[in-house]
Symmetry: C2
Subunit: 332 residues, 2 copies
DNA sequence: CTGAAAGCGCTAACAT
DNA sequence: ATGTTAGCGCTTTCAG
């Protein structure tokens, strides 16, 4: 790495003290105008770039946030990430991004490497593995140590910290109502590949409760599977057995995609059969099938709110520096 | 922020020097086994977490890479990012991620904030705006200052640094050949929304050259547009005017999507008409239309190679520490 | 084996 | 208006 000019070097060259240089460069009113100009000009000539990393170290805060999300192939996470970054950038923060790949081990590793001084706070969407094993001690440790943290999307209700989620239950409930009351579907099948996850269960419940409110509508079927293949087969069987099914409600993107597939297949068997697919998925899916009814998951809003909450926490937390100041006062 | 135990505190508590603590904790062979154990145990009791940020500062390298990409809605970039992160993580590096939103101003801002000491090197995919204005001075400055940097996907040939791209020309050429020779298409239309970008031009050229090699095949049409609407209209007209078109080759994802749309529309007008869409796009598009021919853009490979090249550069660059050491030796 | 000391680049309280 | 000083937490010679 090429040598970078430092304040000390400038101070020696101009026969001024480091603090004068520092103050001049930051435009302090304590310094005379001629001095400030001289310093600034010289600094520019030397290609001086302030070492903000050193400043961060000195001040005890890094203006950096650590983000851990499962992955980014799901456009929902991509959009959340994009919005978090934009919000943080506008507020002078940087973002260290890590992907857990839904592995608990990598999640723990990522968090601990960032927690060793690199970030002022965390935004986390926990891995599937953490959820399945109900293993949150790494998160709990951050909370205990009063490190600012906001969870989003996949959360654990036991943890006492800020959380941002869509209201899965309400969204599923409302969408189902909409399908019944506005769209006039009579026989809806729900499909899920995430019924082992917390938000998956909530969506299923929302669907079921919405149907329960429609007493006349006796038919309600929930199809749950662990693998795509399994779901597809179950769905094919269900649609062949019950010719009156007129809509499929998928509670996660993969389920929606499979529903679209199967629907196309069933339609090709019987041209006049009509089945509409609706559900939680990327709105771009509608690019390829305009009849798809997409549930809006508000990724933008989630991203912004998450970041906003975190910065609020950070601003209300005294930085380490002031704490140390207290100690020193006490000792002296 | 809660107080964090430091080496100094441990040293006072155990009546040992800071350096002994430091060495013990890092398992140095200079320290006796009993001391090491005593220190380690005490550190654990105090919940000691090393401040690697301070260590980074001291050592003059941060083990952090700065990434700037236009955005992440395009799954190609998402996949590249994911693979970069995974590779870097495996090699002990963190990743600061920024999005330029294709704005030159934000790109410059992002780079300079990271360059102020936070990162050991950069991975950049320049913004559309930078390309259109041929404005690369911010990148050139990094290169001049010998800051490790690798460009990917959108590059500038004038810049003297490592670059990773897919071979746009060859990929377009080969795909076109494949469409003609293997798939036996007779009349292919190419569509593009990126003909103002460097790689867009290369893809167009690849298409044209491939067609030129087939002398018997007189027909070759290139449709270029700036907006989606414009492209769609042009394509509709073209397909209505020339009933013999049997394939559309899109050189970017949006163009491919529009081609799929228009094709569906045209087919609905005339049921027996057959048109196949092929092109550069996310392979997930094939989930919704199995007849789509997807060009593989090798996002995984690009991500990994980019990261690998950067780390290679970084490892071959002496850290600032050693430079400073030289100065000191010289002075004393 | 252990300790003392210097210093990474910068800030900010406290002189002068 | 300018300078002095202390120190952020850690690593790394060099001395004992």
């Amino acid at each position: 790495m090429q040598h970078r000019t430092t304040l000390t070097e400038i101070s020696k060259a101009l026969n001024l003290s480091v603090s004068t240089i520092s103050k001049s460069l930051s435009g302090s009113s304590e310094i005379s105008l001629p001095t400030k100009q001289r310093v600034k000009e010289f600094a520019k000539q030397c290609n001086y770039v302030p070492n903000n990393f050193a400043a961060s170290f000195r001040k005890g805060c890094t203006n950096t946030i650590g983000l851990v999300i499962p992955h980014i192939i799901n456009p929902f996470y991509a959009k959340v990430l994009l919005n978090i970054e934009n919000y943080l950038d506008q507020n002078g923060y940087k973002l260290i991004t890590c992907f857990s790949n839904d592995s608990l081990k990598k999640e723990v590793k990522n968090i601990s490497k960032m927690a060793s001084g690199y970030v002022d706070g965390f935004i986390v969407c926990v891995s599937k593995e953490a959820q399945l094993n109900n293993e949150y001690s790494h998160i709990q440790r951050l909370i205990t140590n009063q490190i600012p943290i906001v969870l989003f999307d996949r959360i654990c209700e036991m943890l006492d910290c800020d959380k941002v989620i869509i209201d899965d239950y309400k969204t599923a409930f409302d969408t189902t109502k909409h399908l019944i009351e506005d769209k006039k579907f009579k026989n809806i099948i729900m499909v899920s590949l995430i019924d082992n996850l917390h938000h998956g269960k909530l969506r299923t419940k929302g669907f079921q409760d919405a149907l329960a409110t429609e007493k006349s509508n006796g038919k309600a079927k929930v199809l749950v599977a662990d693998t795509i293949e399994d779901l597809r087969q179950k769905l094919v069987v269900a649609l062949r057995n019950d010719k009156s099914v007129d809509a499929i409600f998928g509670v996660n993107e993969q389920a929606v995609i499979q529903a679209m597939h199967v629907t196309r297949h069933i339609k090709s068997e019987k041209a006049n059969r009509k089945i509409i697919v609706a559900g939680f998925c990327n709105e771009r899916l509608a690019d390829y099938d305009a009849s798809l009814i997409v549930v809006n998951q508000n990724a933008e809003e989630i991203g912004i709110q998450t970041a906003k909450l975190l910065l609020k926490q950070i601003k209300s937390t005294p930085v380490r520096g002031s704490f140390i100041k207290k100690i020193n006062n006490f000792l002296s």
